[in-house]
């Protein structure tokens, strides 16, 4: 693979102060699910840096000053991403923690930068405080905008919240966002998407169960379902549209690198994160295999998933 031929997926983690963003990042670093994850944060003090940030074999940690990504003071962030891009060979993806008052959706636009591809806006919500925050005269609108523009909302502190609090939070979320709403804890592959690189498919045999790691203190979750399919060759554009519109309930993440028969020489990326589906072209086809991987909630019937992926033809 020539350097730079694969774009680094960039996932943005947002949510108000104390929602659990840093806790989640530390959890991802501790349970990387085979992926080498670089994290970008404003304050390194809270991150468990012990070499897991990058491939420990390289024996160094990528520390970036000026990593602030608030929207109005963002010109430095381009430099930061350029530095990260220099490490593209030894990382698989980038996760950015947005400040508690930042707009994660806006920050995710940096994912279009050269060498990166946006890979989801995940917003954490604390069920113990969100309903009060949402009517706070200073930050209410900020908090609502954060969840409204998320792809995937994750309710944290499920170990502390009562069933009533969780349900009230879900009811409120239902009114303010079209995002997929899930309760923590969640496996890394759901939060970040499958560890998928075009030439790595052999490492992901079909229907492999996802590794489990749980958010601190949370109850063990049931198994999520992962399913993947190799395609025989270029597929048709209408089949992609059909596929996107008939997604079975329970699918929370999917990624495909495929050729489309009207653009057989380009790499078309299919991507699902929570409620959002994105089809984009990110470069010339690189002789990998055309394939799709999807992850669904526990209990999602495998047959439905197989049938769905078979729509791509």
């Amino acid at each position: 693979m020539t350097p730079g031929s694969v774009r680094l997926p960039l996932t943005v983690i947002g949510g108000y102060l104390g929602a659990g963003k840093t806790t989640l990042l530390n959890h991802l670093l501790a349970n990387p699910d085979g992926q080498r994850i670089a994290v970008l944060v404003n304050d390194f003090g809270e991150i468990d840096i012990d070499g897991r940030l990058l491939d420990s074999a390289t024996d160094h940690v990528l520390r970036l000053a000026n990593g602030c990504i608030c929207c109005s003071v963002a010109d430095n962030f381009a430099e930061t991403l350029e530095t990260v891009r220099g490490f593209a060979e030894c990382i698989d993806r980038v996760v950015v923690e947005v400040s508690g008052v930042g707009q994660p959706h806006k920050v995710s636009q940096w994912g279009h930068s050269p060498g990166f591809s946006p890979d989801g806006v995940v917003v954490l919500v604390d069920p113990l405080s969100i309903l009060n925050r949402a009517v706070d005269p200073y930050v209410g609108d900020t908090v609502v905008a954060q969840v409204a523009q998320a792809d995937l909302v994750v309710i944290s502190r499920t170990d502390l919240a009562s069933v009533d609090e969780l349900e009230a939070t879900e009811a409120w979320l239902d009114g303010v966002t079209g995002a997929t709403v899930l309760r923590a804890p969640l496996p890394t592959a759901v939060l970040l998407g499958p560890a998928f690189r075009p030439l790595d498919l052999d490492h992901f045999p079909p229907a492999r169960k996802v590794n489990h790691g749980s958010v601190a203190g949370g109850p063990q979750h049931a198994d999520h379902v992962t399913i993947s399919r190799r395609l025989d060759g270029p597929i048709s554009r209408p089949s992609i549209e059909t596929w996107a519109q008939s997604r079975p309930g329970g699918v929370v993440r999917a990624k495909g690198l495929v050729r489309v028969n009207d653009r057989p020489n380009d790499r078309t990326v299919l991507q699902i994160c929570g409620s959002s589906t994105m089809v984009s072209v990110d470069g010339p086809w690189d002789d990998g295999e055309d394939a799709v991987v999807a992850i669904a909630l526990p209990g999602t019937p495998r047959a439905a998933l197989v049938k769905w992926l078979n729509l791509l033809r």
Binding site: V73, H112, P114
Partner: protein, 561 residues
């Protein structure tokens, strides 16, 4: 063997007679000449008396000039100089630090002609053409896009930043090189009917698609040249001290050393350096505060460290400032927080406790509320009698908020130039004529007793305290409206604000801000007397240059392009 005694050469005294001298120090009676020694004011009086008492030589070069204390710009940025490395294509005429007049580009053709000329001057075909100041707001209904830029060059990359620095327009050559094409799905990349991006890139993530070209443009403040040009720009408008408000990352030793090295006694400017802690406190605020305390000890006569800049919200014209009820007149969503209100005290606290000076940007009235809550907590927990923490911009600060600022011992640095540069937009679009009349309430601040300065925020508006003072005195908009007569200040108050008022807020009033014996011999050297001219013409007073540490620095010769 004993050494021969070293002959003590007393440093020479120079006496400068002047047409008029305004000391801005009530305890120093006005005189007709100043005596300068060792880079400091020695005494004020009549030429003959001064020569009799102190000896030395008389320098008559300022005999027909008017001297004021050197102006102090308490809110500016390093790009004030560096931006002029690039081609200016703005609507209004502006003069660069080298004295060159850049005529306003009032038509598309004028922009294209200006860029063609710049293109011809570049030798290396691989070097991008960088320009700034474009303001399509002046051409409603027409679209300035890559087509116009392609008429300049189809091979050289062209990047034109708009005047607000949040948008840029690029040409097809740049788009091709960076892969900006119909497959580009980023937000802020509008496309034309053919599906091709128009060349306009909106906001930083989209502008960053311009790759290395974008980074060269926004990395401009790194160069020595940009600091030198900042000094030139200051000298040309009578400024002898600036606050560089958070532009420079002072945790970067190279940046610190760059300033120390450049600002020697031949440099025409002093600088109060503020570390932008919002962006750069990678090990947390306590560690950052400790680093700033160490850095403070490396301050020189010309470069002061030990100051911190924070930001609460965005800008009013950008719709990103945080407003109280009833919000924006245009009905847009309320702005953005850069620091969460509940976290502000926690972020300010470490710097306050370390005895550092904290200047915080807050444009909207709601942002000021949150900031005052935070300073209330910080001061209650660790009362410091003379902290001089300052709110920067204070554009919508109300009388009630000024009373709280007074009670908390805070200072206000008001963005007076806004009445001229955005006054009509504030009246018509952002907040309406009623709130606009109460914006940048310098009169209220003074009446309540809040220590006041006023600023340009250059390069957001051009560096030039006479213009800033003119704006606060007249409060006139380009359309000729008077934006709140009751908030006007007098000439004397405005002159105080841009000298002593600013010096106080920078904790430098012991060494600058007035023509007072023992202070640094820093003067604004003017061709006319601000206290004599019609206040409506204050901004038109020609500036000869400055005296900085007793050394004369004549402004750049003005040339027309």
């Amino acid at each position: 063997m004993s050494h021969p005694p070293v002959e003590d050469q007393p440093p020479p005294t120079t006496v400068f007679p002047a047409r008029a001298i305004h000391t801005l120090d009530l305890t120093v009676p006005s005189g007709s000449a100043i005596a300068v020694k060792d880079g400091r004011f020695l005494a004020l009086g009549k030429t003959d008396e001064l020569v009799d008492v102190y000896g030395g030589t008389v320098d008559h070069s300022l005999a027909d000039k008017v001297l004021l204390p050197g102006f102090v710009e308490a809110h500016s940025h390093k790009d004030t100089g560096g931006i002029w490395q690039f081609t200016y294509v703005g609507f209004e005429a502006r003069r660069g630090p080298n004295g060159r007049l850049w005529r306003g580009c009032t038509t598309f053709d004028a922009v294209v002609d200006r860029l063609r000329e710049a293109d011809r001057l570049l030798d290396d075909p691989g070097e991008p053409l960088l320009a700034w100041g474009l303001d399509p707001i002046f051409w409603p209904g027409e679209r300035f896009d890559r087509r116009q830029l392609d008429a300049v060059s189809t091979t050289r990359r062209i990047f034109v930043a708009h005047s607000n620095m949040h948008l840029a327009t690029v040409n097809s050559a740049l788009m091709e090189q960076e892969g900006i094409d119909p497959d580009t799905v980023a937000e802020g990349v509008p496309k034309d009917d053919s599906g091709w991006p128009t060349g306009e890139l909106q906001e930083f993530p989209a502008m960053a698609l311009a790759g290395q070209t974008f980074r060269s443009f926004f990395g401009r403040t790194q160069s020595d040249e940009s600091v030198l040009m900042f000094g030139q720009a200051a000298r040309n408008v009578g400024v002898t001290t600036v606050a560089d408000l958070g532009t420079s990352n002072l945790l970067d030793e190279a940046v610190v050393q760059q300033w120390i090295d450049i600002a020697d006694e031949t440099f025409p400017m002093r600088a109060a350096m503020f570390h932008g802690a919002l962006m750069s406190a990678p090990d947390g605020d306590e560690a950052c505060a400790a680093a700033m305390v160490d850095l403070k000890r490396r301050s020189t006569d010309r470069v002061r460290f030990g100051n911190v800049k924070l930001l609460m919200d965005g800008s009013i014209q950008g719709g990103t400032a945080r407003l109280r009820w009833p919000g924006y007149l245009h009905g847009g969503p309320n702005g953005i927080w850069l620091i969460a209100p509940e976290q502000a005290a926690e972020r300010i606290g470490p710097y306050h406790r370390a005895g550092l000076l904290v200047h915080t940007h807050a444009n909207g009235d709601q942002a000021v509320d949150a900031l005052l809550d935070a300073f209330d907590q910080v001061q209650t927990a660790n009362p410091l009698p003379d902290h001089r923490h300052t709110i920067q911009h204070c554009q919508m600060t109300t009388p009630g908020q000024y009373r709280r600022m007074k009670a908390l011992g805070m200072c206000a640095n008001v963005f007076s130039n806004h009445t001229w540069f955005w006054g009509d937009q504030h009246r018509a679009i952002t907040v309406g004529p009623d709130r606009a009349a109460r914006m940048n309430a310098a009169r209220t601040a003074l009446d309540i007793g809040v220590p006041l300065s006023m600023h340009s925020d250059s390069p957001v508006t051009p560096l030039g305290p006479l213009h800033v003072a003119w704006a606060a005195i007249n409060r006139q908009t380009p359309k000729g409206e008077i934006m709140g007569e009751h908030e006007r200040v007098t000439v004397a108050e405005a002159m105080h604000a841009v000298t002593m008022g600013a010096a106080w807020q920078l904790r430098m009033d012991d060494v600058i801000g007035s023509i007072t014996p023992q202070k640094f011999a820093d003067c604004a050297v003017l061709e006319a007397d601000p206290f004599e001219v019609d206040p409506a013409e204050l901004r038109d007073i020609p500036v000869w240059g400055t005296m900085s540490g007793g050394v004369l620095h004549q402004g750049s010769p003005q040339t027309d392009a």
